[in-house]
Symmetry: C2
Subunit: 295 residues, 2 copies
């Protein structure tokens, strides 16, 4: 395992501890709900978005606790979006992170409620004073997360994705779609460190630019994995996009050009980080990681 | 129309204006999502929860704008919960407020996303500085709303409701269930005015006690309407609880005792307001209104 992978694994352990804590469940009548939330949020995933929060926070003066709780909130939102996206009325997926999806392991109603509750919990975590002593910072995080995850962010992107499912799209449309669907939350994750550290505009701008290119590179790599990966590697069904005739970066550009584009975006992402010192090296490496990953 | 009904109608108009504003939609690819959110949130409902926010705020020094934006946020959460509760996997309802439910008027995927986006928007509205100049107050609203709407509040209540659908429940269980499912958000609505007004413990305690009894009275009245109301009056299907063999206050207590219980709770609710002057008269009247309403 190289240094980046070690750092990601260690961050995942720390974030998992916070998630465990905020998802603690007692023997209460609604415990099935808590079980489904824990099933959805614990013990899986690369925890890429939390890692981005922690690493962006490292560029400024931010307490470990503030960064970890913010990282956990972002992951709660990411996990809720997966639970809802997997529902039969949406992408209808049976497998996620190598396990049955929540509506398969529990049932559809529970999956809807689990997603709702994970989303709600994310805002509760950010609003709580243990996340940051300055309530102005907490409100800024909350508004930025709501924007990134909302109707003109992640949810809007998912809506467009459903709307274009049975028609041709061009590269401009798919870029905008993915910028909302996956890009917005990744951008929030990178900006969160700057918000927590009350950074000035140059730092924020650099992280936004980085996140913007990273998000697209990540999505292109995801589309490539759907074509070239195996279910064993990715923990989810592969080849779905082609079977469903869904337009992706790969179906539009072809695998060669898509791979080249992802690499170019990763390089471009790194260039945005020029204003930071070696503290940003893991951010630089993560840009390479997202395009080379096999899962 | 009596004074209370006039005040409620006027409050509904003002809250509608805020909802219109935060749900403004442009000609963008995700406009179908915005349309479904507007369909779910605009132009319907008694706006009871917003009215409770506005009236509780009247007991303290709170700007009209702060109260209205908080009222709108509560209504966004209420509307999202209706959209998700109506889904086929949940209560499977076709009619709401006299119109087809969102998944009927649009489709299931859109209804899931519309609910998610309304919930997200509620937190964005509360976090925004136009809601209150003090970010500490905004954070307190956000955490309290997340608690009320979350896994140990409204969503937890809905989960228990699904879990007990096919077995007998006693009056204690159904009271706890409804305290979460409908009571928690009503309690937040009443407490919100105290939070906005930075009220001391006596004021908060009085409003919590009031809301607690009001919420149960409201739910018993709802159960009575399902037995005795018509679809034309209520704007939704009636007689569903009995058809589905679902335990309610009415099925357990019988209509006579249920009605007596609702009246007793309404009286009890009013007694909690003794510390307030005639500014609280609409709150007193609303307790009577919820048990006598025909819709």
């Amino acid at each position: 395992m190289d240094a980046l992978q070690q750092a990601m694994a260690s961050a995942a352990v720390d974030v998992e501890a916070v998630l465990q804590q905020v998802l603690e469940s007692e023997d209460e009548p609604e415990r099935r709900l808590l079980e489904s939330m824990r099933y959805a949020a614990l013990g899986g995933g690369k925890r890429l978005r939390p890692f981005l929060v922690l690493q962006s926070a490292r560029q400024f003066t931010v307490s470990r606790k503030s960064a970890l709780r913010t990282a956990a909130a972002v992951e709660l939102v990411h996990c809720y979006s997966l639970v809802h996206d997997d529902l039969p009325a949406m992408d209808d997926d049976d497998l996620r992170r190598g396990k049955p999806t929540v509506h398969k392991a529990f049932d559809e109603a529970t999956a809807i409620l689990a997603g709702d509750a994970l989303l709600t919990l994310a805002f509760q975590v950010l609003g709580d004073e243990t996340t940051h002593s300055n309530p102005g910072v907490r409100c800024e995080l909350i508004v930025a997360l709501a924007r990134a995850a909302g109707a003109h962010g992640m949810i809007g992107g998912q809506m467009i994705d459903l709307a274009v499912a049975d028609r041709d799209v061009d590269i401009g449309e798919i870029t905008r779609l993915q910028r909302l669907k996956t890009g917005a939350l990744i951008t929030f994750a990178c900006e969160a460190g700057a918000i927590l550290g009350r950074a000035g505009e140059p730092g924020r701008e650099a992280l936004r630019g980085f996140a913007h290119d990273l998000g697209l590179a990540f999505q292109i790599a995801d589309d490539l994995l759907d074509v070239e990966g195996t279910a064993a590697e990715t923990g989810k069904a592969v080849g779905k996009d082609a079977t469903q005739g869904k337009a992706t970066f790969v179906s539009i550009l072809g695998p060669e050009r898509a791979r080249a584009q992802a690499g170019m975006l990763a390089d471009q992402a790194v260039r945005h980080l020029a204003i930071f010192d070696e503290n940003a090296d893991f951010l630089r490496e993560v840009a390479r990681f997202v395009v080379e990953r096999r899962s």
